[in-house]
């Protein structure tokens, strides 16, 4: 019973970090229609920038985290302006390859900037774990869950009720139509990339606090892609629920099958992904597109 409960709680909290990563991803997809494979690298870069500010430059985390978020916001703008703007109107493969090219570019930057860093953040949250119903939960897991939940709610409101949010949705639906009704599509694209990168950096900081700091974190970024597809590409709530599902699958497979098949938690999310693609290709909460000729 306690094993089950522990796995569930860990799964949900780890999953909510995946969900948070997935959230920024869906945000971008929802507003620009770009499936960003370089997202995992932006997450890792965010974690490294925070490391550089807080540990290498010696700032306090209270200052370093907002500064990281600000830098990531501009990073998103720059990426959009330099690399994604020329790709507007190009075929899907071109856009996807552009993001894959960005994967290598950003990896190159991370590897050149922090060639040998394999570290953990110094503790900036209280050490004592919280107790939820008798089960001890580390502070960072709890905060990841809280941040993810708050952001989902905030973005849901943002997309539904604000003018910019609606303009983003319109742009994703049809760039040309959005332009004809007066939406500044280029500005929307830049803003979407900036917001998405900010969420990525936040997720990266939480992830590095939760686990460790290394270039290998980008594998987690790929996990979140499966969370996105499981949840449905257009759904914010779906992203978080998908993240939690992936987190639970990971924890349960490790907890119950880990002794039989070591390392199964690295592949179980992809098995779920393949199954979802066979059964419900548009994800749990995605739109089912009906095509006409």
């Amino acid at each position: 019973m306690t094993v089950l409960a522990t796995l569930t709680i860990t799964g949900i909290t780890v999953g909510s970090v995946y969900g948070l990563i997935a959230l920024g991803f869906v945000l971008l997809y929802k507003s620009t229609g770009v499936f960003n494979f370089a997202y995992g690298q932006i997450v890792v870069l965010g974690a490294f920038i925070c490391y550089a500010l807080a540990v290498q430059a010696g700032l306090s985390f209270l200052l370093a985290i907002p500064l990281t978020l600000l830098l990531s916001f501009f990073l998103g703008f720059v990426i959009e302006r330099l690399f994604m703007r020329p790709m507007i109107g190009q075929p899907l493969l071109g856009i996807i390859m552009m993001t894959i090219g960005l994967v290598s570019l950003l990896r190159g930057i991370i590897l050149a900037g922090w060639p040998t860093v394999q570290d953990i953040y110094p503790a900036y949250l209280p050490e004592a774990p919280l107790s939820i119903g008798g089960i001890l939960v580390p502070q960072v897991n709890f905060w990841a869950f809280v941040v993810a939940s708050v952001l989902v709610a905030a973005f849901a409101v943002f997309f539904r009720f604000t003018k910019v949010g609606m303009a983003m949705r319109a742009t994703a639906e049809d760039e040309q139509v959005a332009q004809t009704v007066g939406v500044n599509v280029e500005r929307i694209f830049g803003l979407s990339w900036a917001i998405s990168s900010t969420v990525a950096a936040l997720a990266g900081i939480l992830l590095a606090t939760l686990l460790f700091l290394s270039i290998n974190l980008e594998a987690i970024g790929l996990f979140s892609l499966s969370a996105v597809v499981v949840g449905g590409l257009e759904s914010l709530l779906g992203a978080v629920i998908g993240g939690v599902i992936i987190g639970l699958v990971e924890q349960f497979s490790e907890g119950y099958l880990g002794d039989l098949v070591p390392g199964i938690k690295m592949v179980a999310p992809y098995v779920v992904l393949l199954l979802i693609l066979i059964i419900r290709p548009y994800g749990l909460f995605g739109y089912k597109r009906i095509e006409r000729i």
Binding site: F83, P86, L92, G94, I100, L277
Partner: protein, 349 residues
């Protein structure tokens, strides 16, 4: 194919010919001649680079059929190369099949595995196909890593050098000929497949799958054929790789390699048979040049070699990004422009 001034196709055979004019024949024979004599002059390192390039070209030709012609983007080509490599090595060592049979068998078995993993792509398209192949990449490599009794797991698996008529092909010089002949055969297949009815069906599916279906093309069937062919090419490439490097381990077939195959065909030019050649040669020679310049630089600046990996990664990304922005149709398009300029020489710039 456009022809030089004054050359007209008068028979159906002439219309279908790939090598049409006398100049093309001369160039082809000259090219073959040079390629066959190359091992006698080139050094060992140069030969190993060329062998790697040729093996990658075979795998990219396959990926180009799936992605460039049929429009199904696959991020699992390296995993299928791995499947071919392990299948071939196991067939030779455990079943006792000769190398000459193991290469085509590895191709066919990999193709069949590709059919299974390509199955989910029948219901989905575009982005979701990438996600499905991404999952396939991880699942295949997981199975290879964990099935220790069969594949050696993370330690790796030894594959013997091929033997024929008492000759062991264990040097770069001798192995070059095996890879070269395989490359010729695979290029011949790839070039001819895409201009048959099957190839035209692929293009129709790529351009609009719904319209293709309305015109009576069995989309599911042709998608599966494309997956089979692509994976069979990967299998052959993997088999050649295994018996050349003679020790395979999962680190040689990661997601990064799959991405690299995609980059080859993008840089080379999608949906052309020359594309993979241009792409692989261009990227691999640049990477090789970077390695060489770093090793020269290392004697002047200390500690520079630790940045080699990062620079390779960065340069690779930069090539892909620049090509997508400035020449999305790839080097094959530049080559076509050059040929047209040559053909029309006095009349255009």
């Amino acid at each position: 194919m456009r022809l030089p001034c004054g050359t007209f196709n008068e028979t159906y055979d002439q219309d279908m010919a790939i090598v049409r004019t006398k100049l093309q024949w001369v160039l082809l024979i000259l090219g073959l001649f040079v390629s066959l004599l190359l091992p006698l002059f080139a050094g060992d390192h140069v030969l190993s680079v060329i062998i790697i390039i040729m093996i990658y070209v075979i795998a990219s030709l396959g990926l180009n059929i799936l992605t460039g012609y049929c429009g199904q983007i696959s991020a699992a080509q390296a995993a299928f190369v791995a499947t071919g490599a392990y299948t071939s090595a196991i067939l030779v060592t455990k079943v006792g099949l000769p190398f000459w049979l193991a290469v085509p068998s590895a191709g066919i078995i990999t193709g069949l595995i590709g059919l299974v993993l390509g199955g989910p792509s029948l219901r989905i398209k575009g982005l979701y196909v990438i996600m499905a192949t991404l999952a396939a990449q991880f699942i295949i490599m997981f199975v290879i890593t964990r099935w220790k009794s069969f594949t050696g797991g993370t330690i790796g698996y030894a594959a013997p050098a091929p033997m024929l008529w008492g000759i062991t092909f264990n040097t770069n010089r001798s192995y070059y000929y095996i890879v070269f002949v395989s490359l010729l055969v695979m290029t011949f297949i790839a070039r001819n497949l895409v201009r048959t009815q099957v190839g035209r069906a692929f293009v129709a599916i790529r351009d609009d799958d719904l319209a293709a279906e309305v015109m009576g093309i069995n989309v599911a069937r042709y998608k599966l054929i494309a997956f089979f062919v692509s994976c069979a090419f990967a299998g052959v490439a993997g088999s050649l790789w295994a018996h050349w490097i003679r020790f395979i381990d999962p680190q040689q077939f990661t997601l990064a390699h799959s991405v690299r195959f995609l980059a080859y065909i993008i840089v080379g030019g999608l949906g052309t048979t020359v594309g993979p050649f241009f792409g692989v040669f261009f990227i691999e020679l640049l990477m090789e040049g970077l390695s060489v310049s770093f090793s020269t630089l290392a004697s002047y600046v200390t500690g520079v070699t630790s940045y080699l990996f990062a620079s390779k990664e960065f340069l690779f990304g930069l090539i892909v990004v620049l090509f997508l922005i400035f020449e999305p149709r790839g080097l094959a398009h530049r080559w076509a422009l050059f040929k047209a300029a040559y053909r029309l020489h006095p009349f255009t710039r």
